[in-house]
Each structure stands twice: as structure tokens, then as C-alpha cells.
Symmetry: C2
Amino acid sequence: MLRQVDLSVELSKPAYKERMAKLQLTLGELQREARTLNIPIMLVFEGWDAAGKGTMINKLLMALDPRGFNVYSTNAPTEEERLRPFLWRFWIRVPARGRLAIFDRSWYGRVLGDRVDQKLPPSEWQRAYEEINAFERQMADDECVIVKFFLHIGKAEQKKRFKKLLKNPSTVWKVTSDDWRNHKQYRAYEKAVDDMIERTHTPWAAWTVVEAEDERFAAAKIFAAAISALQKKIAQVKAGKRASWKTLPRRHFTLSPPKSIDLSASLTKEEYEDQIEGLQKRFRDLEHRLYMYRVPLIVAYEGWDAAGKGGNIKRLVSRLDPRGYEVIPIAAPNDVEKSRHYLWRFWTHVPKAGHIAIFDRTWYGRVMVERVEGLCRPDEWQRAYNEINDMEAQFVDSGAVVVKFWLEIDKDVQLERFNERKNNPYKMWKITDEDWRNRKKWDLYRKAIDDMIRLTGTKRAPWTVIEANSKYYARIKTLRTVIAAVEKRLKEYE
Amino acid sequence: MLRQVDLSVELSKPAYKERMAKLQLTLGELQREARTLNIPIMLVFEGWDAAGKGTMINKLLMALDPRGFNVYSTNAPTEEERLRPFLWRFWIRVPARGRLAIFDRSWYGRVLGDRVDQKLPPSEWQRAYEEINAFERQMADDECVIVKFFLHIGKAEQKKRFKKLLKNPSTVWKVTSDDWRNHKQYRAYEKAVDDMIERTHTPWAAWTVVEAEDERFAAAKIFAAAISALQKKIAQVKAGKRASWKTLPRRHFTLSPPKSIDLSASLTKEEYEDQIEGLQKRFRDLEHRLYMYRVPLIVAYEGWDAAGKGGNIKRLVSRLDPRGYEVIPIAAPNDVEKSRHYLWRFWTHVPKAGHIAIFDRTWYGRVMVERVEGLCRPDEWQRAYNEINDMEAQFVDSGAVVVKFWLEIDKDVQLERFNERKNNPYKMWKITDEDWRNRKKWDLYRKAIDDMIRLTGTKRAPWTVIEANSKYYARIKTLRTVIAAVEKRLKEYE
């Protein structure tokens, strides 16, 4: 692929000046229009060392309103980043609607440098193609414009540029021994780039290979490609059309059929007190061992209002070391969260390896409350099952133990607990009008819950339905379930 | 101080149970009340290794609504953190109004471990007392409740606890060689703790030394202290009173008198074109050298509407490598920003050492637009001069070059530019009704600007007033000013 590119193309200075003046005005206008229409934009720059990514990005920036963009340079991951799924550091930087994010190098490092330098076993960078396609697809489904550039120069040109940088005392530090090593591996990189383009050149996130030996030609081509992608999306949005592609290269998830449950399961106070302390201590020991082996644990709590999530979580964590866990309560999104992809705020809470994140309500709000209350469109919540499965698969692939609880109670028990809250001055704050409103929609929620458990109960991130009419029973069962899941994983290490 | 503490105090199990039940209920209620009243809370835990900070924090958490707090564990700073002022990582974690932040170890590491282990020259940790007092004072002035605990155990008790941890295979890793080294330096630490308490025990952020050999006694004391501080603040807020303290231990800043300026200064197009490219290239070289020597640069732009800030910034950065700089446009705060201390959002943008941050409008909004438009109270903007001087002093102390520009034009030139924008289809978007409204308040703004330049033009973070009737002149002068400031600093390295 790269070999077929004709690198001798050029643009004369007068032709460039004339063309660029127009391109800059057009791009500036399109940026403002995209902002008005709430269209997020990601421009991705990959390319050879010294191919001029910095220069090209700066030329773009000059045409843009600085109030509308962010530039992210991707270097070797920091420790914070290494301890999380590899897409984490990009997910948390996706643009808000109406904003533009420029990535100077990007998630493609996974299938370029990491691959060529053998920093990863092949299975990991091969899986990255799927993860990347899914990530870009999710953003594109959320109406994000994605334009990806590969800046191409020949091996001889690269050498020439390195030598020029070495001549200037202010830039001599820019050419490192790594750069020379990469230069020597030019052919190996070339193959990786070819594979990358072949496997990630999708209808929703196409690659533009830029002939970058002539700076003017490269700049004009980059502007033109960005403009064309933006014009297309803006026309589409103005016509009231949504993103849609025929191909659907999704990952396939093995689902486990939901089990039937018996809500009469219960424990007496004595049975509960006999067991709880021992389990809590066992879990605290496991917390230490999770840390020791750098295994992250994600516990997701969902359940009916008044099913006892709060009390259950308290018992789960009450003997833990607070340095090792975090409880993340999920309420309605704030305006910063609302202006981004709905999964963004959950990505920002992905725990570091060795840490425990407990979500009190979760990303499943998309297919429950948002579905039932009409807070998102049907195509959005329908798409969400796959998106969620994909996100959880990435958590598991990066080493996490994922445990998901649905706390099930029957309608009578809920009423009883609502009334109890209403009448107890210490608990009154726990019950709101919204709870009563939700209760009236019990059957709609029932349907949504059944769909959710059926469609997202994957083999590697399964649901555990907790019989929660008896709070004692529920607390013991969640603790036992978490402990069993963690112990199973830790066996691989011990 | 620590030596006088009687560590033999105890609380019996039945007394503890009875007392704790009440304390938990009270604290939970106060947390909800603080949320309703929008009171932010910081609980700071310091103490000997193995004094039980984790256990105590977890006991607190059990009484709290998880939707209202965050716990932050402070470890050795990451690279991201080391490359910024030492308070940066705490500033970005201050609680939103109505929320509670618990710090498990904190900014006091600076005057404890860093001091005792001689990780810093004495001048740096000594300066930290001032920086810490100013930081806490700023939070307290913003109605934040700050409660600081030092968990105290004797040397013999510490040894006993280490040995116990070593007996359990799950906790053996918790006792490190560092811990034993600290243990051996118990006396040196004791002196550092005494100094710390003496120098940072302030009316707005008092220390509570907790006798922590008896876990029950410690827990009850911690709850009682937190409750009492909260009750006091809640009563105050309900009575409509504001935070106020008699003592005012501020840092003193040397101010430079503002210079008079001549707005007729100008450059022809030719003079401009002769100079601009050379200066831009020189600045690009400096960008590389800033990076090489890890010196951060902060450029703050303020100026009248239509003074040409945007175009000026573009010329400043147009030849830079985008990996090394960021332009941060400051608009009205969003709701996440509004719910925190007004300086919080600027702290989140402090550049890493070696990087350049250019603020298009700044924290000076507090003493200009917020003052003139009545968006904050008079006592708030009056206090801000000192707060801002303090923040900038921290930037400079941590190694940054700080350059501040005020772009001055006269009223006629502004009118001319407004009209030009109104009539040019490519510039129309730049002019809003707000600009016309602000123009009507020219004299009020004039007064605010003069005060600002007079009260925040410090020796180390001086203002440069730019004669901006001539855009050409202004662009050349800002570039020259930045270059001179950077070159002056880099002389220390070269």
C-alpha cells in the first residue's frame, strides 16, 4: 500500500498561497458551523518520525478558533495510564459535542510501535484492531466526525530530515536513539502501517495517506480532507439524517442464559451475623492480594429502588482499606457529562490495576431509565447492548474481574420499604417523588431489565441476580459472589 | 507538643457502641445538611505509619452517603504531578460545594516526609508552610470546612503494629523498608510534626491530635471533632454569616508601579513583516529550550474587547511545535467549574514543566467582569488580588516564567473595530451584543483594570501593558516581551 504512493507530488508556492487562503477560511467557517450543530470532531495524526506532524497540526490550528479545540500529544503511557485498558487515556479525551480534538499520534501506537518493537504479545496488538474499530464506531455512531491522516515520507527523506534537526542546537535533542532505531526498522514499520490501514480503514473512520515530502502539498491535502469530511457530516445533520453504515463488524459475545430465581431465599439475623464478619475479613485479605497482583476489580450494582443497594455496598466495603477501593455513585449526568458520549463518564472511573471500583448504579442506566423514560432514542439504547458488552470485554481483556449484580425484590416488598422510609425520620431523605413515579412503571422497567440481563449477560462479565427480599441473604450472597470471582482469578497467580 | 499527649486514654466497648451509634447518625445528618447548604468539606488525615488512618477513614465513610464524598490517597507524586507546583495535585481535587473530600495523607507530606528524608532543600519546605496556610485560607474563605487530624501512636506501639502486619501473609507487603526507616527516625519525625502543628494550626484550619493507640477512643474523637466543626459552620451559614478571621497571615508581594503608556506607538506593515518571522523562529527555538530545561511558561492575555487578543496569540504560536504549547480560552464557567473555588479551573490548566500555557483571558476575570457585572460579592473580588498574587507566586516558585499582557486600545479604536466586524461577513461571528453592553461600561472597567494592574503587578509576575491601537506594534511587542522573559530565565541554565 505505502509503496504505491507517489511521493514526488508537489504544490508550487503561488498555487499554495492562493489555495490555502480559501481552505483556511472554509475550515474556520465549518468549525463554527459544527459547533452550532453540536458535532464532535476527531482529527488523528500518525506518520513517520520527522514527517511534519507538528507543522501540519499547527497549520490547522491557525485556521481554527482556539475556543473550540484541544490538542493531545500521545507519548509513552504514564503509570496511571499503563494501569488501565489501553484505550482509557483516549476515551477520557474524546471531544465534547461541538468541539474538535486533535491527536498527535494516537491509539494506533498499539499496532505500530508496540507491535514492531514487540512490546506486546501478538495476541494483544491483534485484538487492538477490533477494539479500535469498535471505539471509533461508537464515536461515529454518536455523530462524531473522525478523520485519520498518515503522513508518509520515504526512508531517504527521513534520514535527511534527521540530519537537518541535528544541525540546529535547539533541535538536536529531538532526534533520539529511538528515532534512529525506528529509522533502521523502516521496512518493518511499513508493513505494520499497511496492515493498520487495511484493517482500520472503515466507512466511519477512513484513512487519508498524505504525501508529506512536500510540505505545501501535504498541508493542502490535509485541509481538503478535513473540509470534505466536515461538509459531508454537516449536510447530513442539516438534512436530519443520522450516521448509519451497512457493515457492522462487531465483536461476538457469548451470552449465558439467565437463571430463574427464588425470591423466598432468606437468612435469619443469627445466620447473617454468624457469617458476615468472616466474609468481610476474607474480602479485606483479597483486597490486599488484588493490590499485590495488580488485578483491578469492578463491581456493578443495579437493582430496583429500595432493593437495598446502599446498605449492601456498605457491608461489602466496611472492612476494606479505603486506599484500595472507591464507591462511585451514579446520578443523572451533569452538563459536562451530557455533552459527551454516554460511556465517557464511566471510562473516567475505570480503576487502576490493583484497585476496586464499586459502581452504585452504572452504564446500564442507558438501557433502563434512559430507555423507559425516553431520555435517549430507541436506536441509541438498542445499540447500547453491544457497546456495553464491548466496554466490559475491554475491562476483562485488560485484566479486570467484572462482577455485576441485579438486586431483585418483588413489588410488595418495595411498597413496604417505601412506606417504612416515608415514616422514619432518619430515612425520609431516601425516598423521593421520583421513586413513586418509577414504581408506577414497574412493568416497563421489568421488560427493560429482562432484556438487559439477556443481552449483556456475557460469559466473561456475567450478571448475578440477587434475591433481595431478605437484605441479610442479599448481603451474604453478594459478598460470597465477589469473593468467589476474585479467588477464581487469583488462582492464576498463586 | 506530641510528647505531652497522654496516649493511655481508652474507651470501653459498651460506651463506644452507645456513643458511636449516635455519632454516626449525627454525622450523616450533618453531611446531608451541608450538601443542602452547599458547604464544601475537607477532612485531612495525617499520622504515623500503622496509626490506623485507613480504619478511621472507613469508619467515617460508613456514616456518610457515598453520593457525597471522595477519598484521595496521597502517595509519592506521579511524573505528571512532580512537573507542577506541589499544591497542584491537591488543588485539582478540592471538593465541589456541598461535597466532602477526605485526604488520606495530604499536602503535609511536604513538611513531613519530604523534610525529614531531605528530599528538598530547607528553603522549599519552609516556604510550604506559607503556601499551605494560604491554600487552606483560600478554601476557608470560600466557606469550606477544614478539619485536620494527626493520628498519634508511640514508637513502641508502632513497632508492635508492624510486627502484627508481618504475621499475616496478606498484609506482609504493607510493611516496607521505608516504613522501618521512618520508624527508626521516629524522633526526627516527631520534631517535624511539632513544627507542622505549630505553624499550620490556624483558626480556619485547626489540627486535632488524636490519641490513636485505642481504636475506639480515636474513632469517637474523630467523629466528635468533625461533627463540631460542621455544626459550627452550618449554624454560621444559617445565620447568614460569612467566614471571617481576625488574623491575616498573608504573604507580602513587592509591587511594581505601572508605567505610563503612549497609545500612538505603531509599526507599518513593512516594519512588521521585516520582524515577525525572525521573532517567531526565535520563540520556536526557545520553546525547544524550555522543554530541554523543563521550564514552564505561562502567558496570560487580558485586554479590551477587540483589542486583538486572538490574532496576537495566533502570531505568538504560529511557528511553535503544538506538542509544546496549549492555548486555553477562558469563557464563562460551566456548572462543574461554578461549583468549585473560582481558581480551581485555572489550577487544572497549570502547564507541566517544559510546556507553555497561553491563557486567552484568565483568572483576572474575577476582578474585572465579575466585579463590574456583580457576579461576585465585593469582599470576594477584594480578596482576589491577594489570592491571585499568591497563586502566581506559587507558579514562579515552582520554576515557571509568568508573563501577563494587558492589551490597551482607546475607545475610538474599539468602536472602529466593532463596526468593521459587524460589516464583514467573515468576522461577524466575532461581535456579540455583550460586546456592545460591555462598551457602555467602559469607565467602570477602566477603574477595575487600573486597580488590577496596580494591585497584581508584582515583581516576579509583572504586567506588560501593550499599546494595541496598532495590531502590528502589539504583536511585535508581545513576542519581544515573551522572548526577553524566557531568555532571561534560561540564562540561569546556559
